[in-house]
């Protein structure tokens, strides 16, 4: 007997989870806070409040590839990224920070936050090397979990965002 192709299997195979079905903003905040305490300093708190829009933004991110595929993107102002770099390097911080120093340190924070967000997701996933620059575009506004935080009064956002556009409506 030949099974009739109703298209049901294809639709089922296309199903993919949205990030909001897998983690919530509180988990992202908690991961970020743990990273901050360890990397930036024990007294360094992230306050879950949105700040003013950043005028000179810089982003660092890692890609996660697995049952859910997307990016974990940190965005803040360039001055704040420099301050973060100095906090991370502490006594090893050079007097004059090069762009490379900021990219390296801010990228490593994305790596640590992204690695721990990945660990909170179901199944096995791969993690890319960090990248720094202009944030990747949001492909599907429904596939985003975003935490808006303040560090030393300056805004930092962490966006866990899907890499794929929305599925076409049936």
């Amino acid at each position: 007997m030949t099974a009739m192709d109703t298209g049901e299997r294809r639709r089922t195979g296309e199903a993919r989870p949205l990030i909001t079905e897998l983690i919530d903003e509180t988990t992202v905040e908690s991961v970020a806070q743990e990273a901050w305490i360890s990397l930036v300093g024990e007294e360094e708190l992230l306050v879950p409040l949105p700040g003013e829009p950043v005028t000179d933004p810089v982003s660092s991110w890692v890609d996660v590839v697995g049952p859910w595929t997307g990016s974990v993107v940190l965005t803040t102002g360039r001055r704040t990224a420099e301050e973060l770099t100095r906090a991370l390097l502490r006594e090893h911080s050079p007097e004059v920070l090069e762009d490379e120093d900021v990219a390296d340190a801010f990228g490593e924070i994305a790596n640590v936050v992204g690695g721990n967000v990945k660990a909170a997701l179901p199944g096995s996933s791969g993690l890319s090397l960090p990248d720094v620059g202009e944030a990747p575009a949001v492909r599907n506004p429904e596939d985003v979990c975003r935490a808006d935080l303040l560090w030393r009064g300056q805004p930092i956002s962490i966006s866990v965002q899907g890499a794929l556009p929305p599925l076409p409506a049936h």
Binding site: E91, V112, G115, K118
Partner: protein, 127 residues
């Protein structure tokens, strides 16, 4: 005692090296696994290697396998220091020959505790 710190992030190399130097280690740094092998091939043989997982050119797992395949380097203790925290990845690293596994983010105390377990705290720190 000597330690080699391998990580593609200079910031992380400085942090890990700073912790180890505070415990009395003499350290060298490398930016990826291949550079880490170059240090060993140059004759600088450490008691401890701290190695990240995700790196360009040669990743941490490849590095561990390469070190373990050379009988002259088998006495070195390898500790992976990485943001890879999946259980299957930890098992892979230990199976390849790593002795310990530290997940980023970590504290200086976490590194010290792992070294104490491995018997790799310099004597003046133990006392």
């Amino acid at each position: 005692m000597r330690a080699l710190v391998i990580d593609d992030s200079r910031a992380m190399r400085r942090i890990v090296s700073g912790i180890l130097e505070g415990l009395g280690y003499e350290t060298q740094q490398a930016g990826h696994g291949r550079e880490g092998l170059d240090v060993l091939e140059g004759g600088w043989l450490p008691e401890l290697v701290c190695v990240d997982w995700n790196m360009p050119v040669m990743d941490g797992l490849q590095y561990v396998s390469a070190v373990r395949s050379n009988p002259a380097w088998r006495s070195m203790t390898i500790m992976m220091v990485t943001s890879e925290s999946e259980h299957t990845q930890i098992v892979r690293a230990l199976a390849a020959g790593a002795h310990e596994y530290v997940i980023k983010p970590f504290t200086a105390d976490a590194i010290r505790d792992k070294l104490a377990l491995l018997g790799l705290l310099p004597q003046e720190v133990v006392l």
